[in-house]
Each structure stands twice: as structure tokens, then as C-alpha cells.
């Protein structure tokens, strides 16, 4: 058991070691595939450690004082290992491992130095996310939180020569940063009020009703803002679809295990604190449900396979947050885990398709099931899981979320989420029918990908099915009223049926459906992404740029003017003072004499 104390530390240290090695030893990094092997070996060992910890159901908290201050440490660092962290460790290391293996084939055509850079970032990304998961306090969590943001910036902008990728990376960075601003203000306010960043202390106080801070509502709202940015909640969700500009395996990583899950994880981790402020909790629930519905409508009109998946991630994150807001954080976290499996599967499957077809547009695909039956099969498994069809894993977690929201008497969020379930099945099968079963529009050169890519796909598909079967065998304890399961299955099947009618059978013309009155408005709005991107763009141009021009003017003419004068005088002062260093020893002795005089006069003037 003693060994297990060090195991979490090892799980954390391995990707970091790999990062250090690749970052410092340039020849290793430039070797490309060798760098990949180093990264994969480290994360594989990490995965092994995480599985061992998870299997033992290990719990441990270790903190070390970090910044000393007057009367006790100001902040601590450490490791917090509990069931929540254990499950997350397995998800993060598993998805990172599979993504890194998959990338070896997916990015096989990249030049070796670029590939080495890719694996350097990957290792740092895994380390940052693991550090976040193991954080025993808000401060450490924030440090890793920012590192995660930095890594996703680096990986989204991996093809930095492409303007779109560079823009998307900057957008992701800034939009999430907006939320992080709230997060850091929130945790510093919390620290000022309670004197600690540590979860254990804070939760103990919360339990003892000793956390009667007047501004607690504001503080928790600010902390929640961090999650809004990271987990792409309305209205800060706009960065996630753009983040598709990175390589597809990176999307899989960001969407399934790292980055966006950080927000949900944080809200789950801090559940005892959020529970103290019902208003904020209700807000989280409403925003979550609204985000779910909004993103689902946008997914229905997208033609880019990766963007459809991106909106579906936003939508599913809304589910998780809604559950957290309803006080059923464990249901939301459960959904996070199952979603992590099948979303990684879907993205990696989409990557295989894109790799084969050379396009992201689903209407340029078609009939792919015949060309690549294995990829088609696993993609279908992922789609069924996401649509919430039993007995796959997604069904159970989605039902748990719906049950939790219903139990919290949040009727309208429940209706929104139910509608989202219907739309989810519809848009996912829209993709499946169009890309895999429709008439073959691709030039017929599509083929199955290499084993390094197929292996992770099969593994994830198997896990999705096995997890579902295991949950089904366990009876799938009832999460809500008896009508909930039939309702959610019914909604999913209705969505599938509608997609079948519109895109497979051709019984309904999608264009005529979209033109019918209430839908036509919605269709137009969704296609314009509800004007949010345009709004931000306008705000940015009109407001931020105008402000920055003003600041620029002040900076150029006022601040710089003052500074230039000051620095000129400083330099001149330095030059003048240098002259007393004449090199003549007599002057040096005078210096000593002058110094004694100075001390005596000064003492006479000021000493009490």
C-alpha cells in the first residue's frame, strides 16, 4: 500500500519527464517518430499507473506547504486522490495514450521536427491535465488550468503557417481567458475571505456552516465563469467549433478528455461549495440546458463533419453542467466519462474518414461504409452511444442526467434537454446516413486506415459497448420516474427515424422542411450561429479596437513621452555617476571619508 502513495506522483511525473526530455534534448525532438515513441511510452506507463490506482480505489491526500508567509503557508501544493480523481486519471491517460498512438499514423507525413514538437506539446498537455485533476486546492488547479489552456493554444495552432489555425488558436486562448479572469478573481476573493485555497479545509467549513461570507454568491459565480470559458458554455462557446483547425487527434483529445472537461471537473470537485449558493446553481443548470439545445440546433445545419461533432460536444457539455446545476453532479460526471469514450471514438473515426476522403464536408462523402466497413462500424457504435440508444454507455449516463434534472424540479431545463436528445439523434444520423450510406460521391479511393489508427478505434468501440453492457447487466438502477427510459429511447429513435426519412429514404426533402415557417427562421439563425460570432466580431472591432487605439495614442504620446524623458535622465544619471569612478585611488579614499561623514550627518538628522 505504501507504493500507492507514490503512484499518483509517478503518473503525474512521467508525462512531465517526457516533456522535459523532448524540450531539452533537441536531437531527440527533431527525430520525430522517436519523440513520438518517448511520449507514448511515458503516457502508457502513466495509464498503467492510473489503472492500478483506479483498481485499488485508492484515496490519499498529501499536501506540502509551498509559499511561506507570516503565520503559516500562504498556499500548498499536493495531490488529492479520491474516486473522482481516479476515474478522471484513467480517462485522461487512456484517451491521451490512444490519441498519441493514433497520431503516429495520422501525422505520418509531417516533417520530423514538427512531429517532435507535436509530441512535446502532447506530453505537456497530459501532464497539465493530470496536475489539474490531482489538485488539492484552487490555486494549484488554476496554475494547471492555465497550462491546459496554453497547451490547447499550442496544439490548435499546430499548423501555425495556416492563418485560420493561428486565428483559431488565438480565439480559443482569449475567449477562455475571459472566463479565467473571473476564476482567478473568484479564488483570490475566496482566499481573502477564508485564508485558504484548499478544498479539504473549504469543504469542512462548508459542512460546518462556517462559510457565511456575504459575497459567496459573487465568488462562486466568478469561479463558475472559469468553467463557462473552459467548458464552452453559452455565451463563451464560440471558440470550440473554431478549434477544429487543429489536427483531428488534437480535437479528439480536447473534446474527450482534456481542456473542455476541466470546467465540468472543477464544478464537480467544488460541488459542496456550489451547493451553498442555490442561485448560482440554478444559473448553472439553466445555462447548461440552454447551451445544450442551442448547440444541438447549430449541429443540425453544419455540413463539416468535425464541426457537427464540435457542436455536439458543446451540447453534451451543456448536459453535464445542467446535471451539476441540478445538484446531480455525479450524474454529470458519469456522463463526462462515457462521453469521453465515445466522443474520442467519433473524432478519431472522423479523422480516419477525413484522412481517406480528403475533405470535411459530409456531402462530399457517401457510401463510405462499403469502402471502409471497420471505420463505419465503430463510427456507428459511437453515434448510437451519443444518440443514447441502449444498451450503449451513453444511454445510461444521459438518462441519469435527465433523471437528476427532473428530480430537481427544473421542468424547463428538462424539456430543453429532452428536445436536445431528439436533435442529437437526428443530427448524428444525418451524418451517418449522408457520409456512410448515401450514394457514393467520393472518387472511390477511400480505404481503411493503418492499424495504428484502427487499433484505438476498435478499443474505444469495445469499451463503449462493454461499459454499456456492464451497466445494463448491473440493472442500471432507476434514475427517475418509470417513464423516463422509454421517453429517452423514444426521442432517440424518433430522431433516427427523421434523419432516415430525410437523408436516406428521401421521403422528406431537407430543403422543404427547412423552408417551412417556424423552422425557416430557426434554420437561418442557426446557419448564422445566432449572430454570436458576428456580435463578438463587431464588439471586438467597434469597442475593443477603438479602445485600444485610444490606449495606443495615450501610450505613444503621453506614457512614452514621460518614460522617454525619465529613461533619458536615468541614463544620463548613470553616466554622471560613473564619472565618480575616476580610477584615482585618492578619490576612492575620499569616498570612504565622505561616507563616514554621510553616516554621521544622517544619524544626527534622523536618529531618535
Amino acid at each position: 500500500m505504501r507504493l500507492l502513495v507514490w503512484l499518483p506522483l509517478l503518473v503525474l511525473a512521467l508525462p512531465f519527464t517526457s516533456f522535459l526530455l523532448l524540450a531539452v534534448v533537441a536531437p531527440l525532438r527533431r527525430a520525430g517518430r522517436v519523440a513520438g515513441a518517448v511520449g507514448i511510452a511515458a503516457i502508457a506507463a502513466s495509464l498503467g499507473g492510473a489503472l492500478l490506482i483506479w483498481n485499488e480505489g485508492f484515496r490519499h491526500t498529501a499536501t506540502w506547504a509551498w509559499l511561506p508567509g507570516d503565520g503559516g503557508p500562504m498556499a500548498t501544493v499536493g495531490l488529492l486522490v479520491d474516486p473522482l480523481a481516479n476515474a478522471m486519471l484513467v480517462l485522461v491517460t487512456l484517451v491521451s495514450f490512444l490519441v498519441q498512438v493514433y497520431s503516429l499514423a495520422y501525422l505520418a507525413d509531417e516533417p520530423a521536427p514538427a512531429l517532435g514538437r507535436y509530441y512535446t506539446y502532447q506530453s505537456l498537455f497530459a501532464f497539465s491535465m493530470l496536475g489539474l485533476v490531482l489538485s488539492p486546492g484552487f490555486l494549484q488547479m488554476f496554475v494547471f488550468w492555465e497550462l491546459v489552456g496554453l497547451c490547447s493554444y499550442l496544439l490548435i495552432g499546430y499548423w501555425y503557417q495556416r492563418p485560420a489555425a493561428a486565428r483559431a488558436a488565438v480565439k480559443a486562448f482569449w475567449i477562455t481567458k475571459l472566463g479565467d479572469l473571473g476564476f482567478i478573481i473568484g479564488i483570490v476573493m475566496l482566499w481573502a475571505a477564508t485564508g485558504t485555497f484548499e478544498f479539504a479545509t473549504l469543504f469542512a467549513k462548508a459542512q460546518a456552516h462556517a462559510l457565511a461570507i456575504p459575497a459567496l454568491g459573487t465568488i462562486m459565480f466568478l469561479i463558475y465563469l472559469g468553467a463557462v470559458g473552459k467548458s464552452a458554455q453559452f455565451p463563451l462557446h464560440v471558440w470550440l467549433p473554431d478549434a477544429m483547425e487543429g489536427p483531428t487527434p488534437v480535437s479528439a483529445l480536447i473534446h474527450a478528455a482534456t481542456m473542455v472537461t476541466a470546467g465540468v471537473y472543477m464544478v464537480t470537485r467544488a460541488q459542496p461549495l456550489f451547493a451553498l449558493v442555490p442561485d448560482v446553481l440554478a444559473l448553472i443548470g439553466w445555462v447548461g440546458a440552454f447551451t445544450a439545445l442551442l448547440a444541438a440546433t447549430m449541429a443540425c445545419v453544419e455540413n463539416d463533419i468535425k464541426r457537427v461533432l464540435a457542436y455536439s460536444t458543446v451540447s453534451q457539455l451543456g448536459y453535464m453542467m445542467a446535471a451539476a446545476g441540478a445538484g446531480a453532479a455525479e450524474a454529470g460526471f458519469f456522463h463526462l466519462l462515457t462521453h469521453g469514450l465515445f466522443k474520442a471514438l467519433l473524432f478519431l473515426g472522423a479523422g480516419a474518414v477525413i484522412h481517406a476522403v480528403g475533405s470535411n464536408d459530409i456531402f462530399r462523402m457517401g457510401g463510405l461504409f462499403r469502402a471502409m466497413p471497420q471505420t463505419g462500424l465503430v463510427f456507428l457504435v459511437g453515434t448510437l452511444a451519443l444518440a443514447g440508444v441502449p444498451p450503449l454507455a451513453g444511454f445510461f449516463s444521459k438518462e441519469a442526467v435527465l433523471g437528476g434534472v427532473w428530480a430537481a424540479h427544473m421542468t424547463w431545463p428538462f424539456v430543453m434537454l429532452a428536445l436536445t436528445a431528439f436533435l442529437t439523434a437526428f443530427y448524428m444520423f444525418r451524418v451517418v446516413f449522408t457520409a456512410f450510406f448515401g450514394p457514393a460521391t467520393a472518387a472511390g479511393h477511400a480505404h481503411e486506415p493503418a492499424w495504428a489508427m484502427r487499433g484505438p478505434l476498435w478499443l474505444l468501440a469495445a469499451l463503449t459497448v462493454l461499459l454499456g453492457l456492464r451497466l445494463a447487466a448491473g440493472g442500471g438502477e432507476a434514475h427517475g420516474p418509470a417513464w423516463l427510459a422509454p421517453l429517452s429511447v423514444g426521442l432517440a429513435l424518433a430522431g433516427v427515424a427523421l434523419a432516415w426519412a430525410m437523408y436516406q429514404r428521401g421521403a422528406l426533402d431537407p430543403r422543404r422542411v427547412a423552408a417551412a415557417f417556424p423552422l425557416s427562421v430557426l434554420d437561418a439563425l442557426a446557419r448564422r450561429r445566432y449572430g454570436l460570432d458576428a456580435l463578438y466580431d463587431g464588439l471586438y472591432r467597434g469597442f475593443v479596437l477603438a479602445l485600444s487605439r485610444l490606449v495606443g495614442w495615450i501610450d505613444r504620446y503621453l506614457v512614452d513621452g514621460v518614460l522617454n524623458v525619465a529613461s533619458a535622465w536615468t541614463l544620463r544619471g548613470g553616466d554622471a555617476l560613473r564619472r565618480i569612478q575616476s580610477g584615482v585611488p585618492q578619490d576612492y579614499v575620499f569616498g570612504v571619508a565622505f561616507g563616514v561623514l554621510f553616516l554621521v550627518v544622517w544619524a544626527r538628522l534622523w536618529m531618535r
Binding site: 509559499l67 511561506p68 570612504v592 571619508a593 561616507g595 563616514v596 554621510f598 534622523w606
Partner: protein, 473 residues
């Protein structure tokens, strides 16, 4: 087991034995390459250093003159650690390993012996003697390159100013004795509460002598000339250890046993700190020689440490001790990079560092770390050092001093980053890696590790410093 009075001085006795060993071995040394002799001296210091890790505070020696308390042990560990780095860096190169290796090490170790005694001295006579034992070998070492006219000149200037300062110090101490009627520092502290004007005058004059040793403005004039002319590994050591010794003496004479009355030194120290910070930083600005630049920036750092001194509190004292530890790593490291580049390029100008990042990325990275630490950037050692002395001064109500220090930090960053710019942005004058000898590389690695470790996890050293500083008040 040694008898009690000897047990307290076990480190000094051990170092004395090393001295004798080096002396005897030197008699039998032949040939140009005397690396083995340098290695022996280094090994001896390592042994004494290891010994210092196990010594515990002991009761005061005869008449309370010699005390082995927490402060003394902390300071001795610092001296020995810095000496290990300094000797390591000189290993295998002239002058430390050449024909005159024995002479070099005898002088250096004698000075070190003076420092060790000084850290424990609680009596005016012993203090003065130890002070001179520390100082006189330094004059000789500064002019060790005797065929180099500038070195001889620098050494002579150093000696001249040093003698004047020693005279002022001795004169001041005589007043102190006259007023307190005792050479025991505890009695001096008691007498201080009566505010005898002659005692005050004596202590002020003594302060001038100590200020020379730590190189506060305007007693710093010897610093740039000496640093520029003497051999760099020696300068690296000279720039930190005697200064640390000077601060320990300041604590002993001006704080220990003074209690509340220690506040009286606040305005003097604050004034000295202000002029030292301002002058040091401003004079560093126009420098083109890296060693002179580091010399003046070192003067500025003494000013920052005096900010902690001005706080006249246990926290301020502890933070100076922490600052000194951080300073050992960052300043010695920076000098050693200069040495490494100078061995390859034959130049100590900042221009020699051009394009270092392209030629030897790791060496450039190390230099950047040292510069950032000296500049006080977060998560390297120097940041906490500055933050903590400022913190201590703010706690003592010296907000204006903190403001002055913070503003001048910007000036300091300017000239440090100018060096960084030469390394990272400017193109190299010629290609090729800089070859490092193994001992020098090891010394650099030690310094870099220290800077990073203290930057990431400063707590153990801060806590240790607080533990030894608290009993003084």
C-alpha cells in the same frame, strides 16, 4: 568527543587542518599542472562542509567570545557552499590549478577561516582580528595575476581603501570600548540602551568599516576595478562570501541583544540602502564589460539587502539570509558564465555574449536564469528574495523605501535584459559551441539547480533563516 570549548570550534579546527595539509603538500609539489593540489583543497572544503551539516548549536566558548549558535552555523554552511562552487569552477584552469596553486588555495582558505571565526565572534577583539584574517588574503588574491599591471593596480587600490576602512573600523571600535568599557558585544548592547553619544559615534565609524566590506555606496569604489582585473572564479567567490560575512557581523554588532532599540538603526540603514540601490543600478547602466556590470549590479543587490536591514526585525534579518543564499547561486552563476565565455573568446565584454543562444543554447539558458533571478522575475530564486525583503520592510512601515527599491528594479531589469538580448536576439560573431571544462560545467549546473529549486520551493530555506534570525531579537 572533543572538550566543550573545542567542540564549538570544530569547523575552524578542521579547516585549519586542511590548511596545514595544503601547505605541506605544496612543499612537495612539482610541475606546472597542480590540479591535484586544487582538488585536495576542494576535497578538504567538502569535508568541512559535510561536517557543517551535522554540527549543532553549542554553548558559548571561553568568556562568551566565540559562539556557535544557529546564525553562525547557517552562515558557515553558506560560506562553505559558496567556496565549494568557487573552487570547483577554478579547478583545472589557471591560476587556481597552475604552478602557484598552493599559494592561491592557502590564501583563499585563510580568508575562509577568517570568515568562519567572524560568524561566531561575539567580542570586539576577536571580531576585528577575524575581520582582518578574512580581508588581508583577499588583497593578495586580487593582485594574484602579478604580471598583469591592471591586476596589481586594482589590488593596490583595494588594499589602500581597505586599510583606510580598517583604520576607521578600529578607531570606531576603540570608541565603542571606551564607552561600553567592555569588548563583549553583549555588554555593548546593554550600554547602547543608555544612548551614550560616544558609543554611537564609535558604532557609526565601525559601520563605515563594515560597509566597505559589503561594498555599500560610497564605500564600493574598489569593487569594479577589482572585479574586472582579478581572475573570474575568484571574483565569483569574492562577490558573495565576504559580503555574507559582512552581513553576519552587522547582525551581531547592531541587532543581537539590542531588542527594541534595534529600531534606532532603521533610518541609517534605510538611507544607506537608498543611495546604494540608486547608485548601484544607475552606474550599472552604461557598462560594456560584463564583470563591471555585475560589479555594479552587485552593489545594487547589497542595497536591496540593506532594505531588509532597515526593517530591523527578525523577519528582515531572515530575509537577508535568504537573499544571500539566492545571491550565491545567481551571482556566482552569472560570473561563471562570463568565465566560460571568456575562456573560449578571450573577452569579458557583453559583446562576447552575442548570439550565445545559437552557439550554446544551454549555457545561454543558464545565464538567462541567473539574470532573471538577479532581476527578480517570479519562479526563480531572486524573486522571492526581493519580495521577502520588501515584505519585511513594508511590515516595518518603510513603504517609501519599498517604492524606491521597486522602481529601481525596473532599471535593473533594463540592463539585465540588455545582456539577454545580446544572447538571444543578436547574431553570433562566429559559429561554434563554447567548450566547457567538466568542473566548470558542474559548478554551473549547481548554480542553475539552486536558482530553480529556490524559485520553485523556497520554503525550507526561508523557514531555516527565520529559525536562526528569531533568537537575535
Amino acid at each position: 568527543m572533543l572538550p566543550a570549548p573545542l567542540a564549538a570550534g570544530v569547523l575552524e579546527l578542521a579547516l585549519g587542518a586542511v590548511l596545514l595539509l595544503v601547505f605541506v603538500l605544496n612543499l612537495f609539489a612539482r610541475g606546472e599542472d597542480r590540479r591535484w593540489l586544487a582538488g585536495t583543497a576542494l576535497g578538504g572544503v567538502l569535508v568541512v562542509g559535510a561536517l557543517s551539516l551535522v554540527v549543532t548549536p553549542a554553548p558559548a566558548g571561553p568568556g562568551g567570545m566565540f559562539v556557535q549558535d544557529g546564525l553562525a552555523i547557517f552562515a558557515k554552511r553558506l560560506f562553505l557552499g559558496a567556496t565549494v562552487i568557487g573552487l570547483l569552477a577554478g579547478l583545472g584552469a589557471r591560476p587556481a590549478s597552475g604552478r602557484r596553486a598552493g599559494e592561491y588555495h592557502l590564501l583563499l582558505l585563510t580568508s575562509l577561516l577568517g570568515m568562519l571565526v567572524l560568524a561566531s565572534a561575539r567580542d570586539l577583539i576577536l571580531l576585528f582580528v577575524a575581520f582582518e584574517v578574512m580581508s588581508i588574503p583577499l588583497y593578495v588574491l586580487a593582485g594574484f595575476l602579478k604580471r598583469d599591471a591592471t591586476a596589481v593596480e586594482a589590488s593596490l587600490k583595494f588594499f589602500l581603501v581597505g586599510s583606510v576602512s580598517s583604520a576607521v573600523l578600529a578607531y570606531g571600535l576603540s570608541f565603542v570600548y571606551g564607552a561600553a568599557r567592555s569588548t563583549d558585544l553583549a555588554k555593548v548592547a546593554q550600554a547602547f540602551s543608555t544612548a551614550e553619544p560616544l558609543l554611537l559615534l564609535g558604532l557609526l565609524a565601525a559601520l563605515a568599516g563594515f560597509a566597505f566590506k559589503i561594498a555599500a555606496f560610497p564605500f564600493h569604489m574598489w569593487v569594479p576595478d577589482t572585479y574586472e582585473a582579478a581572475s573570474t572564479p575568484f571574483v565569483a567567490w569574492l562577490s558573495v562570501t565576504p559580503k555574507a560575512a559582512g552581513f553576519v557581523v552587522l547582525f551581531r554588532v547592531y541587532f543581537e541583544g539590542m531588542g527594541e532599540r534595534a529600531d534606532a538603526w532603521m533610518p541609517i540603514a534605510a538611507g544607506l540602502a537608498t543611495v546604494t540601490i540608486v547608485a548601484g543600478n544607475l552606474m550599472a547602466l552604461p557598462q560594456q564589460n560584463t564583470k563591471r556590470l555585475l560589479a555594479y549590479s552587485g552593489v545594487a543587490h547589497i542595497g536591496y539587502m540593506l532594505v531588509g536591514f532597515a526593517a530591523a526585525s527578525a523577519a528582515g534579518t531572515a530575509m537577508i539570509l535568504f537573499y544571500l543564499v539566492a545571491y550565491v547561486f545567481s551571482n556566482m552563476g552569472a560570473f561563471l558564465v562570463v568565465e566560460a565565455v571568456a575562456r573560449a573568446e578571450g573577452s569579458e565584454a557583453t559583446a562576447a555574449l552575442r548570439g550565445l543562444a545559437q552557439r550554446s543554447p544551454l549555457l545561454a539558458l543558464a545565464m538567462l536564469l541567473f539574470l532573471l533571478s538577479l532581476g527578480g522575475i517570479p519562479f526563480v530564486a531572486g524573486f522571492w528574495a526581493k519580495l521577502y525583503v520588501f515584505w519585511a520592510a513594508a511590515a516595518a512601515g518603510l513603504y517609501w523605501l519599498v517604492l524606491v527599491g521597486a522602481v529601481l528594479t525596473v532599471v535593473a531589469l533594463f540592463y539585465y535584459l540588455l545582456v539577454a538580448k545580446r544572447m538571444y536576439i543578436e547574431a553570433p560573431e562566429r559559429p561554434g559551441r563554447i567548450q566547457l571544462s567538466a568542473p566548470l560545467a558542474l559548478a554551473l549546473v549547481l548554480c542553475a539547480l539552486g536558482v530553480v529549486a529556490l524559485g520553485v520551493y523556497p520554503k525550507p530555506v526561508v523557514m531555516a533563516a527565520l529559525r536562526v534570525a528569531t533568537p537575535l531579537f
